[in-house]
Point group: C2
Chain length 314, copies 2
């Protein structure tokens, strides 16, 4: 959940920002600063106020840069990520806001200032498990002085500023001496009976785009057994295993993960949801009890959800 | 005292900033972030780090926007005043840094974004006592909607963005319904025997410039009785009363205010200081026990100090 906090004069800007977060399928609440109070389960704060007001309002929850929610200030001219900019996602969400609002983003993190991608940011970008805090600090310090050695699995064709890339035949990523496992990505798909394949393909592509995940990083695709044919055709190009679930299995997952229920879907296929529980059950098949990083995205008769590891931001 | 805190890669920038603060005669300490700890009597922090690091390091002292030290982050591209930007002086010092470092200043305070001068900033600019906090908030809110009525004493020829100026024959300033007393300014001057008048004049002008005080705001000028002739001639154009003090009076003030002692001055005139104690004694003659807002500025054989009210920042 992202909380947008606005002062009286910034209500219109706050509404613009909510539309951007809606487009990117981030959950948010919109609140007048007069009614503001700190609450749990907030992954980030966007304040439309001075930096002083924003910092004073959240100072009680400033604890640990690996766990704190991000804090971004947006005003007429700038987007200023203030706290938890790397792992917390401040720079990432800030960039999305800056691009869409046509404002300047004010980076203050050292690696970004040098045009390099910090190791923690690299893990976000490549969707890897996070290194230990001390390794992040050590490697980011090195990174300011020189380019780091980055070993990628064969086929990961990526260029990233600040890294000398080599390839190996292992299934992990290595930054200098630190090994990092790629996170698993599970995609859940629901759709109308007999829908055209290209609509499924592009809906999944858009879902991946919204979370900045390349399509070759999908590990598994799940759907309801009644739509196996459509989803298999639509996802052919991703070349991944398709798991199917019965309506009972899906309903059980809807309950267990406390997912939003759709009466409309229930009337058609006898389950309260397809995409979200399929994504989570697909992840379970990989032995990971994770969370949704993209809730149901609906595009032209197709619904897509993405699930991944529980600890990862957004 | 201003504390400059730098991370390893920013040592050179930290040194540039210390030279600027030296030029403007602000006391400062320079410290590696590894050795940083919070201390009393700090009027402001300048961090050469990410905003996240800066905020986390000072979060314990974030209490009250009317009293907290300012917090400014400076990096390769920006100067970002984060806390206590108006009354605390963050925007003011930030502006000085931005101009001298040729960087962009990132304002986030609402009035500044609208190109208007907040009431608290107005008080800094015009050197007035501060209104009550609730009056500042109320008037600044109004200011975002419309221009405020500003009544100035006859002869104060000033234009300020966001205010409709009228004149009255009173000796106070009025913003809408709020009356504000001008702060008293006392200048202390020391110099070599027989020094040219223009050197005294320009040294005082420079001292006033460094604290952004127009010369017609001087209330009183003080010096040692042995230099009455030189100072009277040099300060003729300011057209203010010149008070003179004996070396005993000055020595007593040096002791009482715990001022820095100069053996050089002692050898010549028998007192450990002239400009600083003269400024403070001049202020006492106006029934105000204040503090130095500019410590001794030495220019071509002339020393100037400025004293004003005890509560005012810098």
């Amino acid at each position: 959940m992202i909380t947008i906090v606005y002062t009286t004069n910034n209500k219109r800007l706050a509404q613009e920002i909510s539309k951007i977060l809606e487009y990117y399928k981030y959950d948010y609440t919109l609140i007048d600063i007069k009614e503001f109070s700190l609450s749990k389960d907030v992954e980030g704060y966007i304040f439309l106020s001075s930096t002083g007001i924003a910092i004073r309002k959240v100072k009680e929850i400033i604890k640990d840069k690996l766990r704190d929610p991000f804090l971004i200030v947006v005003n007429n001219n700038y987007v200023i990520p203030l706290l938890s900019n790397h792992i917390g996602g401040g720079n990432y969400i800030g960039k999305i806001l800056a691009i869409n609002l046509n404002k300047e983003i004010v980076y203050s993190t050292a690696t970004d200032l040098k045009g390099k991608v910090g190791v923690d940011e690299l893990c976000r970008t490549l969707f890897l498990e996070l290194p230990k805090k001390k390794d992040i600090l050590r490697l980011n310090k090195e990174l300011l002085e020189r380019d780091l050695e980055l070993y990628l699995p064969e086929g990961w064709n990526i260029k990233i500023n600040g890294y000398k890339v080599s390839y190996h035949d292992k299934d992990y990523v290595k930054v200098e001496d630190v090994k990092l496992k790629p996170l698993k990505v599970s995609v859940g798909v629901g759709c109308r009976r007999g829908i055209e394949s290209f609509k499924i393909y592009w809906a999944v592509k858009k879902a991946l785009y919204l979370r900045n995940i390349p399509s070759w990083r999908i590990d598994i695709i799940g759907t309801i057994n009644l739509r196996k044919r459509e989803v298999r055709e639509g996802c052919k190009r991703f070349n991944r295993e398709i798991l199917t679930f019965t309506k009972e299995e899906l309903n059980e997952a809807v309950k267990r993960y406390n997912l939003e229920r759709s009466e409309f879907v229930y009337k058609h296929v006898g389950t309260y949801g397809v995409a979200e529980p399929s994504a989570l059950l697909g992840l379970e098949s990989l032995k990971i009890k994770g969370k949704l990083i993209l809730k149901k995205l609906r595009v032209r008769g197709v619904t897509v959800a993405i699930a991944s590891h529980p600890t990862y931001f957004i």
